[in-house]
């Protein structure tokens, strides 16, 4: 019998060309001609991220639809050995990452990848990310038809355009071959579900889904589109996103916030309008070929048992009788370069030479004939490729705080601890359960669609930070019926493995977890709980500069602000001065502490907290000078002067309010968007005109800026939006050179706002 063979993504010519220029930008950065900020803006859309330890970079390679050839795997292995740490990592979005690459080596990596037909373009940043598909598309017995040709053609189409790399935020597109949604299309920015109508292939389309903070399930925007319309629909959603996405706040930029802001009706109405416009305008052609898929009938006998959950079995029958998919369950998505070379060889020898990456961070060797199964099994055993135990739960973890700059908790260490703990009791009922561990609310481990989801979180106990995890259950994806996991409680990180072991030992299933979580929530906290899994220092956020604060840090700030607000409420209820003062003191302390982490400070004592607040927030004018008096009174009260603090309830409330406003005004770079209290006249004046020059290259942006300045009256203020890098530097300097008064250069989410007063 002939096995079914798919093609891999072909890197478009425009991306090939741009890859040739990557080297020059790296060289400019190394020579100091490019600032780290400008370089970051350039490299991140190339999938090149700095790891937690400075100077080490990760390269995220897109694997279109998760289909990768054995020769491409050998290239990845070679690059990891030559330039990285010799370990490859499979991501939940079917990418493959090379870690620990020196910046000077990144051009080699990108160029060599290209030779193997691979690219990291769009591997990060506000771009069209890897377009993924069900991991077993084309070979799954339950699918309606093979969706990999669609995922690949759409990627080849979108990757050509510059507009795909300058979106308000990332744009994730997923194809699922049936309603079971193994591809997770129901929680994607744009999700396609395979359907037939009148014998023609096509898709139901959902948009506005996404995981991360405030996760959402997409809404249906099309009942059915023909397969050839995927380009038009993807372009429509891209434009909808581009127009309505909030570029001023990275944390509120994803398409799901547009959906939330507009509501489903308005969202769908705008989508329809946009699609009409796109259709009238016509797409920029030519459109890539969607390979005709082989619509062969399922001939294997096991159709009815195959659904999404079967993907966790190590061996699964395929659509074609006699062929099987072999799963390599990688521990946390990692395998060594040497192992990867062996996987490539096995795929050549036993399968079709293709390997699939999965959303569970595993690899699949598809289309192994039944009669060769034992040989393959024996080889894997002999080679010692580490795979996870079939009876253990599927534990998926994000990179976590060990290497991720955004991470809060050490999610990988917890995942390892869970696996180890559950292995102690082999009688447990965990088989088939998916546990997903995200180190922070960014949800990189997709914990909202897990049987058991864990999300890193910090609580403050006795003034100290305690690493915890929110526990969520009940997540599932399915066309039209997707459900996000809901939080049932929060337990200390160190207690999580015991919690899960207890659940499974009792023969219970995840939906029965809630009472147990509450039990664990009320347990006493031993000292070692202040150490995260795998950490030898107490849990702390100190030393994380603004560039490194992610959602986890925001979470901690929220904890402090909530505490301060609660204390103000308590103070209002107290009648005795001493009790009132105690509450006010707590309110002042919590609000003073809340924002300090943004300055990389984590003072231990109350006195140090107050001092740091004066330095970082009062002196620069973020908080009214009147707060200083309040702080002084609080210190006095602590020192035994019982006099005045109780009278300052209003002032304390105002402080809490101001701190919260500042927090809510944080932009993506963790700068306050609120004006300082002591504003200059110029900075508070409204502009006479604003002009958006993003996407306009030097020097034309200056030309246009100058023309715009000439249009306002002398003495008037104009605001100009400019891209990061050369644009903001050059335009601002040139306007100043020509005698205009540059009032302010404000960093917004991914660009700048230049305020200029026309003086001549």
């Amino acid at each position: 019998m002939n096995a079914y063979i798919q093609r891999v993504l072909s890197v478009p010519a425009s991306v090939r060309e741009q890859t040739g220029r990557f080297r020059r930008q790296v060289e400019r950065f190394v020579r100091g001609e490019l600032t780290p900020t400008a370089f970051r803006a350039y490299r991140v859309p190339w999938g090149v991220y700095e790891q937690r330890s400075a100077g080490h970079f990760m390269v995220r390679v897109r694997i279109g639809a998760g289909v990768v050839s054995s020769s491409q795997l050998r290239c990845l292995a070679r690059l990891s050995r030559a330039y990285g740490n010799g370990i490859l990592h499979v991501t939940t979005r079917q990418d493959v990452q090379i870690h620990d690459v020196a910046i000077e080596s990144t051009p080699h990596v990108l160029e060599d990848l290209l030779e193997a037909g691979l690219s990291s373009r769009g591997g990060g940043g506000n771009t069209v990310r890897n377009i993924t598909a069900c991991p077993r598309a084309g070979i799954c017995a339950a699918e309606r038809f093979d969706v990999t040709p669609h995922a690949i053609a759409l990627a080849e189409y979108l990757l050509q355009f510059d507009s795909s790399y300058n979106l308000p935020r990332k744009y994730k597109i997923v194809f699922s071959g049936c309603a079971a949604d193994c591809g997770l299309a129901s929680v994607a920015d744009l999700g396609f579900f395979a359907h037939h109508r009148e014998g023609a292939k096509g898709f139901a389309v959902y948009a506005g889904g996404g995981l991360g903070p405030n996760p959402a399930v997409g809404v249906k925007v099309e009942d059915f589109i023909r397969e050839g319309d995927i380009f038009e629909v993807a372009e429509t959603v891209k434009r909808l996103f581009d127009k309505h996405g909030d570029r001023s706040n990275k944390h509120k930029a994803r398409l799901r916030y547009v959906l939330k802001r507009l509501g489903p009706e308005q969202f769908i109405r705008l989508y329809r309008q946009e699609r009409t416009a796109v259709r009238q305008e016509g797409l920029e052609g030519p459109l890539p070929q969607i390979e005709a898929t082989d619509e062969r009938p399922t001939t294997s006998a096991t159709t009815n048992v195959l659904d999404g959950s079967q993907a966790t079995a190590d061996i699964a029958p395929e659509k074609d009788a006699g062929l099987f998919t072999f799963r390599l369950g990688l521990p946390l998505g990692d395998l060594s370069a040497d192992e990867l070379v062996e996987v490539a060889r096995l795929a050549d020898n036993y399968g079709t030479g293709l390997v699939r990456t999965t959303q569970q961070q595993n690899l699949l060797i598809p289309s192994v004939p039944e009669e060769r199964f034992d040989d393959l099994h024996a080889e894997i055993g002999r080679l010692g490729i580490r795979t996870s135990d079939q009876r253990s739960p599927e534990v998926v973890a994000c990179a976590g705080a060990a290497t991720c700059k955004l991470g809060l908790c050490l999610s990988r260490s917890l995942a390892t601890a869970i696996t180890k703990k559950l292995a102690e009791n082999p009688n447990s009922t965990v088989g088939g359960t998916t546990i997903r561990v995200s180190g922070c609310p960014n949800s990189c481990a997709q914990h909202h669609v897990a049987d058991i989801g864990l999300q890193g979180h910090a609580r403050r106990v006795d003034g100290k930070l305690l690493p915890c995890y929110d526990v969520l259950t009940g997540g599932k994806t399915a066309e039209g019926k997707a459900q996000l996991a809901t939080r049932i409680g929060t337990v200390p990180a160190k207690a999580v493995p015991d919690l899960l072991a207890e659940l499974f030992a009792a023969g219970k299933i995840p939906s029965q977890l809630e009472p147990l979580v509450h039990e664990y929530e009320s347990k006493a906290i031993p000292d070692d709980y202040f150490y995260d899994w795998g950490a030898d220092q107490p849990f702390s956020l100190a030393g994380r500069g603004p560039g490194e604060c992610g959602a986890g840090v925001m979470d901690v700030i929220t904890v402090d602000i909530q505490q301060a607000k609660e204390a103000i409420k308590q103070a209002a209820l107290k009648t005795q001065d001493s009790a009132k003062s105690e509450s006010l003191y707590q309110a002042v302390l919590a609000s003073a502490r809340a924002l300090l982490v943004l300055s990389g400070d984590e003072p231990k004592t109350d006195r140090a907290i107050f001092q740091a607040f004066t330095k970082h927030l009062i002196e620069p004018g973020w908080v009214d000078l009147a707060a200083q008096e309040l702080l002084d009174c609080a210190v006095d009260w602590r020192m035994g002067n019982k006099g005045t603090l109780a009278d300052m309830q209003d002032r304390a409330a105002r402080l809490v309010q101001r701190v919260e406003q500042l927090f809510l005004s944080l932009d993506a770079n963790l700068k306050f968007k609120l004006e300082p209290v002591a504003v200059t006249r110029a900075a508070s004046e409204g502009p006479a005109s604003t002009v958006d020059l993003r996407g306009v290259a030097c020097p034309l942006n200056f030309v246009k800026a100058k023309l715009a300045v000439e249009k306002v009256g002398i003495g008037d203020i104009i605001e100009i939006q400019l891209d990061d890098g050369e644009p903001i530097r050059n335009v601002s300097a040139s306007l100043a050179d020509q005698g205009q008064e540059v009032l302010e250069t404000k960093r917004l989410y991914d660009h700048f706002l230049l305020r200029v007063r026309r003086t001549r």
């Binding site: 020097p699 034309l700 200056f702 030309v703 100058k706 023309l707 000439e710 050179d737 005698g739």
Partner: protein, 271 residues
């Protein structure tokens, strides 16, 4: 009218200039310059002014392109030999910048036709090859109060002066009358370095643009001489001459008249 996207791009290097900007470029776009003579001097001036976006450019020349012109009159190409000069020049200017309006006058400059043409323009470039026409331009511009740039070239030397009539020295303040016929050889007789009018004509275009924008210092009350062999530029101060027969205290010339020699007698000597 606001600049179009294409205009913004086309003129971006002007707009960037502190002293030009969008305002300056709009001035140029609404300005009108007459170039008298589309020969060696007129050629670079016409090309640069068209490129710069001077909105309306007049070309006045009654001649046709001759093979001997091509050594220096770079607006005309080999295939243009025999074509009317104004038509040949128009084609090249439109090729550079289709957005400028070009008016052509396929006539020789004469006392009875020049004034009505000149008064339509903001600035005049004297690119003629003979003294009679140079004096005619000077006189007409004086009576019509139109600023102009005078220039002359011969062999390896050129000269240049900008005249703001009734305000700065005019051509006759420096040279009251044409020299006797035959006392100064023409280009056809003495020869001229081909690149020389390229330099001087470009300087004339520079003066025109500066005047239209109102920037810099014009070459008024000053005669600039250029020696290509020694690479010397000299600025010779000249003042208004009280005895000037045109703009002096007791002018003899009270109306435009043709000097004796209207055009170079020798065919093909248009400089």
């Amino acid at each position: 009218m606001p600049l179009t996207e294409a205009q913004i791009e086309r003129y971006s290097r002007h707009i960037i200039l502190d002293k030009v900007g969008g305002v300056g470029q709009e001035k140029l776009l609404s300005a009108k310059v007459l170039i008298v003579g589309t020969g060696g001097l007129g050629a670079p001036a016409a090309l640069y002014l068209a490129a710069a976006g001077v909105g309306t450019i007049g070309l006045l020349d009654g001649d046709a392109v001759d093979l001997t012109n091509l050594q220096r009159q770079i607006i005309h190409h080999t295939e243009d030999v025999g074509v009317r000069k104004v038509d040949s020049a128009l084609a090249k200017m439109h090729a550079i910048n289709p957005n400028v309006t070009i008016r052509t006058y396929d006539v020789w400059a004469r006392a009875d036709n020049l004034a009505q043409i000149v008064r339509e323009y903001d600035f005049v470039i004297d690119g003629v090859d003979n003294f009679a026409a140079k004096f005619l331009i000077n006189d007409v511009c004086y009576f019509e109060q139109i600023p102009f740039s005078h220039a002359g070239i011969l062999q390896f030397e050129g000269q240049l002066m900008t005249v703001l009539p009734n305000a700065t020295a005019c051509y006759r303040c420096v040279f009251p009358a044409p020299p006797p016929a035959g006392s100064v050889p023409s280009c056809g007789q003495a020869g001229v370095l081909g690149v020389l009018p390229g330099v001087v004509g470009s300087l004339q275009a520079t003066e025109a643009i500066k005047h239209l924008l109102g920037i810099g210092e014009l070459l008024t009350d000053t005669l600039l001489t250029y020696n290509a062999l020694t690479m010397t530029f000299r600025k010779i101060p000249v003042g208004r001459n009280p005895e000037c027969p045109l703009c002096g205290r007791n002018p003899e010339i009270t109306e435009v008249r043709d000097e004796k020699q209207v055009v170079c007698e020798q065919r093909g000597c248009v400089c």
